[in-house]
């Protein structure tokens, strides 16, 4: 039997410049165990709830992560609205859906770029980042922010998008789609990419379910699981279809994300066509007295925003269970048995967001 050695991966690594660490237990070139270590920059944001009025806290929820900023504020607001029995205006629900899907598009394109960089495909990385700018420009035009949108509020949204601007967004996304088809063909068909991803980091459907996988990671292993099917926001009015692959390897996770980008563009188009006229926010009176587990589908999967209040303006508890935290056990499973050279690609195809994890 080969001698076991330990190779540290992270907390700073060229492929993943976010602080997560793995002790990789190696036998020759093969990983036999992986021991994760997190919380290098744990911020304790959840406890800020004791010091902030529940209406103002949405700005903190917005800042949990830069890639899923809007989704965090939306999940938080949804939990408060459920407790207080607030009927959010339909127009606001559609606007939330549009910004949420745009967030998914830019997060997945960002991931494509990061993945290309990990393969050593510099030009593809640059092309992906160039295309992502188109979505950030839409954010800036509609919310004033490119990363932290600050547009969600309890009872609705802070800004409207008029019908001309909505048509403009749909047209810009149509142009983006043409460009994306070009680069996604490279991701799907390129020999080198296939060689690096096919059969690597395999997770079976059974393991994905037992280990609590969520998001594209679960769907790439054949699990039909997408919280948008719950019908929150305006998803109940749209044709949402979970993108599922069955291979369970890194390549399948890449395919799921590419298909989800196109699906999200279509969801924005659907929402822009169906959005009703009317108010986009509601004046909120009172304070939450009760609890709720809000579940929404972020780019990385199911996120839980748990809120508990006792009728005061300051909540008793705010907890976020982020998808990356839920995917770590499967990450360990995928790493076991892999070659050392595949470790960066495996970790990257799980799309870990440490900013979310260190909330």
């Amino acid at each position: 039997m080969a001698r076991k050695t330990i190779i540290p991966f992270g907390p700073q690594h060229p492929v993943l410049p976010e602080p997560i660490h793995f002790d990789l237990v190696m036998e020759d070139e093969t990983v036999v165990d992986a021991i994760p270590s997190i919380s290098y920059v744990h911020r304790g944001l959840e406890r800020l709830i004791e010091k902030r009025d529940f209406v103002d806290f949405v700005h903190i929820a917005d800042r949990i992560c830069g890639l899923c900023s809007f989704m965090h504020s939306m999940g938080y607001c949804q939990a408060i609205e459920e407790i207080m029995g607030i009927e959010v205006p339909e127009r606001a629900l559609y606007l939330r859906t549009i910004w949420a899907e745009l967030s998914r598009v830019h997060s997945h394109i960002f991931w494509l770029g990061a993945a290309a960089d990990a393969f050593g495909f510099e030009s593809l990385f640059m092309q992906s980042m160039r295309l992502r700018e188109m979505v950030l420009d839409i954010f800036e035009a509609t919310t004033g922010g490119r990363v932290i949108l600050g547009v969600c509020k309890v009872g609705g949204v802070r800004r409207d998008i008029d019908s001309d601007a909505l048509k403009g967004i749909v047209n810009r996304l149509a142009a983006l789609k043409v460009n994306l088809e070009e680069i996604s063909a490279v991701f799907i068909n390129d020999y080198s990419i296939q060689h690096r991803l096919i059969g690597v980091g395999y997770i079976s459907k059974e393991d994905a379910y037992a280990l609590g996988c969520v998001g594209p990671m679960a769907r790439a292993s054949g699990l039909v699981m997408d919280m948008r099917s719950l019908g929150y926001a305006a998803y109940k009015y749209l044709d949402v279809e979970p993108m599922v692959e069955s291979a369970g390897d890194c390549y399948a996770r890449c395919l799921v994300r590419i298909r989800e980008i196109f699906h999200s563009i279509d969801l924005v188009r659907q929402a822009a066509e169906k959005i009703p006229e009317g108010p986009f926010d509601l004046k909120v009176k009172g304070a939450p007295d009760g609890e709720y587990f809000s579940r929404i589908e972020q780019p990385r999967g199911e996120v839980i925003h748990y809120v508990k209040g006792n009728g005061s303006r300051f909540l008793q508890r705010f907890r976020v269970r982020v998808p990356t935290f839920s995917n770590i056990p499967a990450m360990i499973k995928a790493l076991k048995g892999s070659g050392i050279a595949d470790v960066p690609n495996i970790i990257l195809t799980l799309d870990p967001c440490i900013s979310c994890t260190e909330r």
Partner: protein, 130 residues
């Protein structure tokens, strides 16, 4: 309105039996969370099957131990280590026990009853009788 959510209060001794039954029925573990109470803790074990959300809840006193469910749900070990490190609750027999090193916090057990001051509920306004 949102999805219906079932919250089932349980005694600590019933927990393992009910969790094992949910596992056999095909529920997945969504999360384990913990709330600080005035004099104790509330642990929430959330499960899902076909988008049906079910939450088991146990309440414990400070210093009371909780059994790990990692023998049933392998992925529970991260949540249980998190609860140990942030709340100071001792979870026994975790399959992968970090022994307090999962979270590097400047204050030990920052979410424990000693460190959390819960907001007071608003006082009811007295209505004068006729």
């Amino acid at each position: 309105m949102g999805e219906p959510q079932e919250i089932v209060p349980l005694g600590k001794n019933e927990l393992m039996g009910v969790v094992a039954r949910l596992y056999a029925e095909g529920y997945r573990l969504v999360q384990i969370g913990c709330n600080t109470l005035l004099a104790g803790y509330e642990l929430n074990y959330s499960f899902d099957k076909d988008y049906r959300f079910k939450n088991l809840r146990i309440t414990i006193a400070p210093g009371e131990e909780v059994p790990s469910i990692s023998a049933i749900y392998q992925n529970s070990f991260l949540y249980e280590n998190e609860i140990h490190d942030l709340f100071g609750i001792v979870v026994t027999n975790i399959s992968v026990d970090y022994s307090g090193t999962l979270y590097r916090t400047s204050i030990k057990t920052p979410f424990s009853v000693d460190n959390v001051k819960l907001p007071e509920a608003p006082k009811q306004k007295k209505t004068e009788g006729p």
